[in-house]
Symmetry: C2
Subunit: 194 residues, 2 copies
Amino acid sequence: MLDTQIAGYDFGGVPPSPVTMEDFRRLEAALEFTARDREALRRSSEVIASHAEELVDGWRAIIGAHDFLSHWFVGPDGKPDDVYKAAVKKRFVRWVVDLVTRPFDQAWLDYQQEIGLRHTPAKKNKTDGAATPTLVPLRYLQAFIAPVTLSVRPLLGRAGFNAEEVDLIHAAWTKAVILSVTLWSAPYVRDGLW
Amino acid sequence: MLDTQIAGYDFGGVPPSPVTMEDFRRLEAALEFTARDREALRRSSEVIASHAEELVDGWRAIIGAHDFLSHWFVGPDGKPDDVYKAAVKKRFVRWVVDLVTRPFDQAWLDYQQEIGLRHTPAKKNKTDGAATPTLVPLRYLQAFIAPVTLSVRPLLGRAGFNAEEVDLIHAAWTKAVILSVTLWSAPYVRDGLW
């Protein structure tokens, strides 16, 4: 998998996150993300990564089913910007792969801030030179924690993990998704309240 | 269960939420909260409500295990404010009961805004006349989605629900918790970005 094949995927090349590593470790502790979760993600990484595009297609189907969600991908002509949608999708798929394969180190932390910014007026559209609305409201990023976490469970069962393993991996995945989306929320929040 | 026995539990008596019912219904649609989820919550309500205090004790144990979390309950003398903690706990337990028993109507929507505000400088401490720090940072409310959703699953299994029912109820509970916490986040977010 060559990172350079994904346009605008700037992992390792973005400004430092304003969130300190100490604050991030505290966040991990608050939701009890431990080495056991990291290990569970590792065991699931082949299955989840190989189904990442299918998962993203499922989440995109929810967006496509509602005008108030697909709206964020519409260009100034009122039509879906398919080039933008395709570019964003590749990075969305890569986010899934990163979540189960990359350590949550400084580079990963920095990139979560970048992803958050790319949903706000500060950076939305800029990576792709698009002209869609300049914001995805935070509430929809938060709401999507539900389909993004819940959709992985049946996949794990079908892949042959036993019930105990499904529970462990699903818990680890849930914590990882919440960690990531919580970091994305930082640029949306009033000074001092995040 | 008499609401009037819980000091500061002002359900039905708080200002209207700035979140419109239309925006709330869209949020429900975005995370696919449907009548099926409402029905699943109803089937679980006796079990979850009767274990609500035990669940809250478990979440409180995570807070108690970390200075950077228990900090938000400490008074100006540097010691835990036990009166404040006890008052907040009763309302936290009631939030669990409400989540599985109350319709998500205007009164419930209004009260989620009130709960959010009570974690910010606008209203923290005021209900109880306490003098603890004036904020619980948003990131910790978001992080707690993990223990709050994950801890209910084993409870459902022990209560005798079969595997399919556990999945349905757990999904409904997860969506309900995320809806609630997403509404709590509104007062934290910069104008126009929520």
